[in-house]
């Protein structure tokens, strides 16, 4: 191997953090290792522009053995840099900033929740399972922080100003509509308390948990005023905006990775071979499983190639048959899902009609919608899996189709439940119906409809948690004990539980969507959800380590984080639609709640608007007018065009550089051949 000439100039020695390292290799038959040459004569003053990082940071990222690095460092320290005072001040500043960053990072590591558990999970079960638990931790933190918002602006002022304040609007309205008696019974049997806890009725109904307890008061003092209904409304809106910002911020980091790596279809084999091995894998058993996993992935990819070749080799007649089969199966799956929706709406109607039953039967009727939703979410994906076997898509397409179907089922079933409730509350939108004529909502059945909706969401959340714990105790532990202790063919075929990431994540998204939908009507729901997710974390961790074996089919960890957040965004969208509809369309209950005598919940904003000062009103009018919004719209269009142009330019330059690399390789080969020819001639 001929030794390449040394490059001149010191600019190459201190790698700019944005460029990749350029190496000059020296061949050596004696030493086994080839190290990049280091220019000993350069001084730190020769750096151009990269001065903010300082020479010491660069030393860490140069791939030299430690003895050489030490020598370089000594040389650097002996050289007195001839820099101006401004430069040295800048250097000192950047060094202290680095130290501060490191110190804060160390301090924050102390506060990171569950980091040791997550490390253990990642080491034993891989990145896919770890991404589920990271997502769960994100949701716990989001719920806690958003609850602190609600507590600060709604709950605590309500508690403080409970008996003070006056109503901003006159308390008039039909007598019948203003009836609201949340505690009808006199003497209560003791187990009723437990039933009430589970269904949010009785002693729990008229409490800070639900919308109905909050007063429509406005506290005014000499230089302090607090409008509780307005605060309630704005807190709810801001809660949604805050959650959206958090999700998008988190998506930003995940998206950057996903976009930078381009299409994941290219380079599949090289990815698996060079990045498939997890160096953090601990233990003999985990290592063997990881090796089996890589083996399986390679086989799956080879299998996909084979299927693609087969599919390309089909005759026209077979293709038509396959496509018509796929269309038929698609409609069959759609039919199953619609049947599930019909079941949910019937169950909701039945449950609302029989809401006066007492005792255990009453509890079952109350929980009927939750039961039907959970059963549907369990049975329909199983059937769709069987359908997918007939459709014969490639393995990766099958996974994506199954996930899309499951997402559609879960989120739209929640939508169907809400739609059914709405129809009952507003008598199917028909204001001339006898029950809805007086108050524009069904005041006979729903004296305080917001509390009822809040109770439904509360029941859904509780039921979800109870089902998870019940499945853990009644299905997963016994399954493991049976499989471990009973050595029959059936037990071995069933095998130990596998931790399936996608369906668990969908469960989390569903739970969070329920909370978002119910937050307007049940302000403490985010706190309950945070506690529920904490309990869920420990339950899932226990079941992971005791009952599960690592999955043979893995879930890609980095693209999957982005996918989870996209699905969460769908749930957020559904909840926002619900919130906007209830704010703007339905008349609030007259017997309870902070929006008692307003025609819609949103109408408190125009009412309070008039009490603002003149200049503020003029400013807000100006922002809403066309003179402001049209230039703003035009400006945002221009900015968006700029970013799109920038992105396309980057993409084109990447393609150009790739082509250039190919050409350079060919040039190298040509030159080497020329050198050989010339050396032969000489």
């Amino acid at each position: 191997m001929a030794s390449e000439p040394q490059g001149q100039g010191s600019g190459n020695c201190f790698p700019d953090e944005h460029q990749s390292l350029r190496f000059r290799r020296v061949s050596s038959r004696v030493s086994n290792q080839n190290y990049p040459q280091f220019n000993w004569n350069s001084t730190p003053a020769d750096e151009d522009g990269g001065g903010d990082s300082g020479p010491r940071r660069d030393l860490k990222s140069i791939p030299l053995p430690m003895s050489l690095k030490r020598a370089v460092r000594q040389v650097q320290q002996m050289q007195v840099p001839v820099v101006s005072s401004v430069e040295s001040w800048k250097r000192k500043k950047s060094k202290s900033l680095c130290k501060l960053k490191n110190a804060t990072r160390e301090f924050l590591y102390f506060f990171e929740l569950w980091s040791k558990s997550l490390q253990k999970i990642g080491g034993n079960f891989g990145g896919g399972v770890q991404s589920y638990f990271l997502f769960l931790r994100f949701l716990v933190v989001l719920n806690f922080v958003s609850f602190s918002l609600i507590a600060g602006f709604v709950l605590i002022p309500s508690i403080i100003f409970r008996s003070a304040g006056s109503s901003p609007v006159n308390n008039t309205g039909p007598e019948a509509c203003m009836e609201y008696d949340p505690n009808p019974q006199g003497l209560v049997v003791f187990y009723n308390y437990f039933l009430d806890l589970l269904s949010g009725t009785g002693f729990m109904e008229y409490s800070y948990l639900f919308y109905g307890y909050y007063n429509n008061t406005m506290v005014e003092d000499r230089n302090f005023s607090y409008n509780i209904p307005l605060a309630y409304l704005f807190t709810a809106v801001f809660y949604f905006a805050f959650c959206l910002i958090c999700i998008i911020a988190r998506m930003g980091t995940a998206a950057r990775v996903a976009v930078a790596t381009g299409g994941s279809a290219v380079g599949n084999y090289s990815m698996i071979v060079f990045t498939g091995w997890d160096y953090g894998c601990l233990g003999d058993r985990a290592t063997k499983l990881k090796q089996k996993n890589i083996h399986y992935r390679l086989q799956v990819d080879l299998e996909e190639e084979r299927i693609k070749k087969q599919a390309a080799a089909l005759t026209l007649c077979q293709k038509i048959l396959l496509y018509s089969l796929r269309v038929f199966m698609f409609f069959l799956a759609l039919g199953l899902i619609i049947a599930a929706f019909y079941g949910i709406s019937e169950a909701t109607n039945f449950s609302q009609e029989r809401s006066d039953e007492q005792g255990i039967l009453g509890l079952i009727f109350e929980y009927l919608p939750s039961i039907v939703i959970t059963t549907g979410n369990f049975v329909v994906p199983l059937l769709c899996d069987q359908i997918a076997l007939i459709e014969r898509y490639t393995p990766s397409t099958t996974i994506i189709v199954a996930l899309l179907r499951a997402v559609f089922l879960r989120l739209v079933s929640l939508g169907v439940l809400l739609f059914t409730l709405w129809r009952q509350i507003t008598c199917k939108g028909d204001t001339n119906n006898k029950a809805c004529e007086l108050c524009q909502y069904n005041h006979e059945v729903y004296q305080c409809w917001e509390t009822r909706v809040g109770q439904e969401m509360y029941k859904l959340t509780l039921f979800d948690l109870l089902i998870n714990i019940a499945v853990l105790v009644l299905v997963e532990f016994p399954r493991r004990m049976v499989v471990d202790n009973w050595s029959s063919k059936l037990a071995q075929w069933v095998g130990r539980q596998e931790f399936v990431v996608p369906s668990n994540v969908l469960g989390l998204v569903y739970g969070q969507t329920v909370v978002w939908t119910g937050a307007l009507f049940c302000p403490l729901l985010p706190l309950i959800n945070a506690i529920k997710f904490v309990i869920l974390f420990y339950c899932k961790k226990i079941t992971l380590f005791y009952n599960c074996r690592p999955a043979l089919k893995t879930f890609r960890s980095t693209t999957s984080t982005f996918f989870f957040l996209v699905v969460l965004l769908f749930g957020w969208g559904l909840a926002t639609v619900v919130m906007i509809y209830s704010l703007a369309e339905i008349r609030p209950s007259m017997g309870c709640g902070p929006f008692r005598f307003f025609p819609t919940m949103w109408s408190i904003v125009p009412t309070s608007f008039h009490s603002l000062s003149e200049t503020t009103k003029e400013f807000l009018f100006f922002i809403g007018s066309q003179a402001f919004s049209i230039p703003l719209f035009a400006l945002s269009c221009v900015v968006m065009c700029y970013f799109i142009a920038l992105a396309s330019v980057h993409g084109k330059s990447v393609a150009l550089l790739r082509a250039q690399l190919k050409l350079e390789g060919r040039d190298k080969q040509f030159l080497v051949k020329q050198i050989e020819e010339l050396s032969r001639q000489l």
């Binding site: 990749s20 390292l21 190496f23 290799r25 086994n32 290792q33 080839n34 010491r56 030393l59 860490k60 990222s61 791939p63 053995p65 430690m66 690095k69 030490r70 460092r73 490191n102 490390q119 080491g123 990145g127 990775v257 930078a260 790596t261 290219v266 380079g267 599949n268 084999y269 090289s270 990815m271 071979v273 060079f274 990045t275 498939g276 091995w277 997890d278 160096y279 953090g280 894998c281 601990l282 003999d284 985990a286 290592t287 090796q291 890589i294 083996h295 390679l298 086989q299 080879l302 890609r556 960890s557 980095t558 693209t559 690399l661 190919k662 350079e664 390789g665 060919r666 190298k668 080969q669």
Partner: protein, 190 residues
């Protein structure tokens, strides 16, 4: 075996400073790693490192660490990071190894060392025989001959940009840039 910190004559000013500049570890982590290194062979490793004693631990001890003992590439890792190329590591090599494998090391640095690890014959190129050895270590020799051949062909097809039938460092780095998982998998937690 826990040694109280003030017994270690590990002069903080000289030793830790150069190590903090040359690795991605903080002072606390460097001391903790020193104790891990010493625990492998307490008789060989002195507590006092002020005079840079020339102590090398043989590969068998390094390869028996719990973080490395099940890794199929542990021998290559030790060979790449050791000064003599045989796997016998000084404290400097030990710290260098875990610094590169920590989560703070940048992608380019990790890619350089990953390339060296997978280059079994040390010729600065990953050729077909290197790939075959890598594959066999990854799958415990469970792939058939045909499958190994097919996968090697596909890998070289995908990653070889200058069309010389083997992967150079640039090809490898170019492919790593497009791999989202690389930073999280080429990482040993210690």
């Amino acid at each position: 075996m826990y040694i109280p910190m003030f017994f270690a004559r590990f002069t903080p000013t000289t030793i830790c400073l150069y190590l903090q500049d040359c690795t991605y570890f903080t002072r606390k982590e460097i001391l903790r790693l020193f104790y891990r290194y010493r625990d492998l062979a307490p008789q060989l490793v002195p507590l006092d490192y002020t005079n840079h004693p020339d102590v090398k631990l043989p590969y068998e001890l390094i390869g028996s660490m719990p973080e490395l003992k099940d890794n199929p590439f542990r021998q290559r890792i030790a060979e790449v990071f050791s000064e003599d190329g045989e796997g016998n590591m000084t404290l400097d090599d030990f710290l260098d190894m875990f610094s590169v494998l920590s989560e703070m090391a940048p992608r380019d640095l990790k890619a350089y060392y990953a390339f060296k690890i997978y280059d079994f014959n040390n010729d600065d190129f990953i050729c077909k025989s290197d790939l075959e050895k890598t594959l066999n270590k990854l799958t415990r020799n469970e792939l058939t001959e045909d499958e190994v051949r097919m996968v090697c062909e596909k890998v070289i097809d995908e990653a070889d940009l200058d069309n010389d039938g083997r992967l150079s460092l640039e090809d490898f780095q170019h492919m790593i840039v497009r791999a989202p998982d690389f930073l999280s998998t080429f990482h040993i937690r210690i």
